[in-house]
């Protein structure tokens, strides 16, 4: 039954039509949003008019990247149970966001998480440090998305890599530039609905081959490929590496600038927590579907076919779409995957542009004396600049294995952004020096240790043995950032910051004074 020939890799008229329908639809949204996006609050935060349910979908849209959809389904189809470890790691950061930072973020901040960290500290040093953490996270995540997307689009549509990168970059610039956060939000919502619906239909069609009994699917997989596909094994050989990856995924989620930025689009803390609840449910449901899709691809498509089309298994979900629903369904899922890439890249670019215009330009270079009009001009220029940089980086890193960049983005987010954010909310004693030192230490440690780790030192630089043994540095770099934050605050205390803590608490817990 595993001898079908796939049309993946050839230009597929259906996918191109579906894709253009999506592009035209979302550009129409952007056109309507553009008329509203004149003020900074509209551009960065959609005028705080997004409901909890809408923001839940948009958060899910921002988070469910093509890499996690295609990558995890592929991993499950080739390795079985172990793929689930990644799904779980990607999900468990959401409760942490809910319990520790969602409400303070909404009550204290305006447009970026640096607003919260800088709330009672000296603006300049904190915003410079936080911008470095933010921009590095955004850039590494962006490179991974761009390079991944170019390769995938080449395979899905038969378009040349370079053309694919330029289309993604150009459409993404259009969304952000003209429609700002409002358009980006609706692009995320549209994409989240399409992706969830597509994955649901795929699972139903796949399970129809197994009398709608998911255990029959698992047992068929075990009968064909051996009992071990149902069991953990091998993927996380070193226990410390497993825990370190777990820390990066869990706390990195709570430090991703494009995710944190979404909390400013809702009117109040109540809507913020509702949105996390919906997002967690949707993302969890999505990962459960992805797990079933992986197993269904293993059985219905066959491992050898999956591995032959792409050694990493990244085409497993698309192959399953073709087997269960023919070329039309393949076209639909391919277009949704493309749309997914576009939407995630747009969210990242908006976060990067906001950091440049709001944190660096308005609050550091102009020290709060810029007009909103000027700030918006800078934001739009930053969007174009970042879009061009994203295209160039996508072209420059062609053919590179960029999986480590996702790990690096999460490790920086967990080490540079999350500790400073949590310390400034929770601890009265946090000083400007301590918070800035924590961000710098977390960034340097995360980047430095990745360079010395097996992923870069051995796999990329070709050395014989790694200097740092684990693939992910978070188990060292995150505690280090907390330690440096505490030590720096004790050694160089900040009396003014301590005296403002009471006022920060009133706004944080009661929402008094929050927009």
């Amino acid at each position: 039954m595993n001898t079908f020939t796939t049309t993946i890799g050839q230009p597929n008229a259906t996918s191109i039509i579906f894709f253009f329908v999506f592009i035209v639809g979302t550009l129409a949204i952007t056109y309507y949003a553009a008329r509203k996006s004149r003020s900074a609050s509209q551009f960065y935060a959609a005028g705080r008019s997004v409901t909890g349910w809408q923001n839940g979908l948009a958060l899910a849209g921002d988070y469910m990247s093509a890499a996690s959809f295609l990558g995890i389904a592929g991993l499950v189809s080739l390795k079985g149970y172990d793929g689930l470890i990644y799904s779980i790691g990607f999900l468990v950061g959401w409760p942490i966001i809910m319990f520790l930072i969602a409400e303070p973020l909404r009550n204290l901040g305006k447009y970026t998480f640096a607003d919260v960290v800088a709330y009672r500290l000296s603006q300049k040093p904190i915003r410079v440090a936080a911008s470095i953490g933010s921009l590095l996270t955004v850039c590494f995540y962006l490179i991974a998305q761009m390079v991944g997307s170019g390769a995938l689009i080449k395979m899905m549509f038969g378009l040349p890599y370079e053309t694919a990168i330029i289309i993604v970059g150009a459409v993404m610039i259009a969304y952000v530039l003209f429609g700002g956060m409002l358009a980006t939000t609706w692009v995320q919502i549209t994409k989240a609905v399409l992706l969830l619906a597509g994955a649901t239909v795929m699972v139903i069609m796949a399970l129809s081959h197994f009398h709608f009994d998911v255990t029959e699917l698992f047992s068929t997989a075990a009968a064909t490929y051996g009992e071990k596909v149902l069991n953990p094994g091998g993927l996380v050989a070193n226990p410390f590496d497993a825990v370190s990856l777990g820390i990066a995924l869990m706390f990195g989620t709570a430090g991703l600038p494009h995710i944190l930025m979404r909390f400013y689009t809702v009117p109040d803390a109540k809507a913020a927590r509702k949105s996390v609840f919906y997002a967690t449910g949707l993302i969890g449901y999505f990962y459960i579907l992805t797990f079933i899709i992986g197993f269904a691809a293993m059985v219905l498509v066959g491992r050898d076919v999956v591995a032959k089309v792409d050694a990493g298994g990244n085409m497993a979900a698309l192959l399953l779409a073709e087997v269960t629903g023919g070329t039309v369904f393949l076209g639909f899922i391919a277009a949704v995957a493309f749309a997914t890439i576009l939407a995630v890249v747009a969210g990242l670019t908006l976060a990067g542009a906001t950091t440049l215009s709001h944190d660096l330009y308005a609050n550091v270079f102009r020290a709060g004396r810029s007009t909103e009009e000027n700030e918006m001009k800078v934001a739009k220029r930053a969007t174009i600049g970042l879009g061009v940089i994203a295209i160039l980086l996508g072209l420059a890193f062609k053919g590179q294995n960029v999986a480590f960049m996702v790990g690096l983005a999460f490790a920086i987010a967990a080490s540079a952004n999350f500790p400073a954010l949590l310390l400034s909310i929770l601890w009265k004693g946090t000083s400007t020096f301590g918070a800035a030192a924590s961000i710098i230490a977390g960034t340097v440690a995360a980047v430095g240790l990745i360079l010395l780790s097996p992923t870069v030192w051995v796999d990329i630089l070709g050395n014989a043995a790694p200097i740092f043994p684990w693939k992910n540095p978070a188990l060292v770099s995150m505690p280090l950032a907390f330690l440096v934050g505490w030590l720096g605050s004790v050694l160089v205390p900040d009396a003014k910051a301590q005296s403002l803590y009471a006022a920060q608490q009133i706004r944080n817990y009661l929402g008094v004074g929050a927009e």
């Binding site: 603006q123 698992f218 149902l230 069991n231 006022a503 929402g511 008094v512």
Partner: protein, 107 residues
């Protein structure tokens, strides 16, 4: 510092109620965080050190690892639901009481 960044000075909340609110909030948050960490790292540690536990069959078609893994996903979501429920019922009404008293005080 931008004017809109400056912490607002207004009527102060009732110190006793406010301190209790803050303490309750972090008790709930940190307890739920601890539960989440225990579930997740419990899962990871079993996976890393005793994978054979998850390989045990619970029916002839299903090994323990699958429902446990999916259970971790569902539990994460359920915990956020628990928090929302507490925040909507308990926390928001306490905030409302404190803010109401602040407005009275302001006149």
């Amino acid at each position: 510092m931008q004017p809109d960044q400056a912490p607002t000075s207004g009527p102060a909340p009732d110190a006793v109620l406010f301190t209790a609110l803050v303490r309750k909030r972090w008790t709930v948050s940190l307890t739920l965080t601890a539960v989440m960490l225990a579930i997740y790292y419990g899962f990871i540690v079993i996976l890393a050190f005793r994978p054979d536990i998850f390989a045990a069959h619970i029916t002839d078609r299903l090994t323990l690892g699958i429902p446990v893994g999916l259970g971790v996903i569902i539990a994460s979501w359920a915990l956020t639901g628990l928090y929302v429920r507490w925040a909507n019922d308990d926390y928001d009404s306490a905030v409302h009481t404190i803010k109401h008293a602040m407005r009275e005080q302001q006149g």
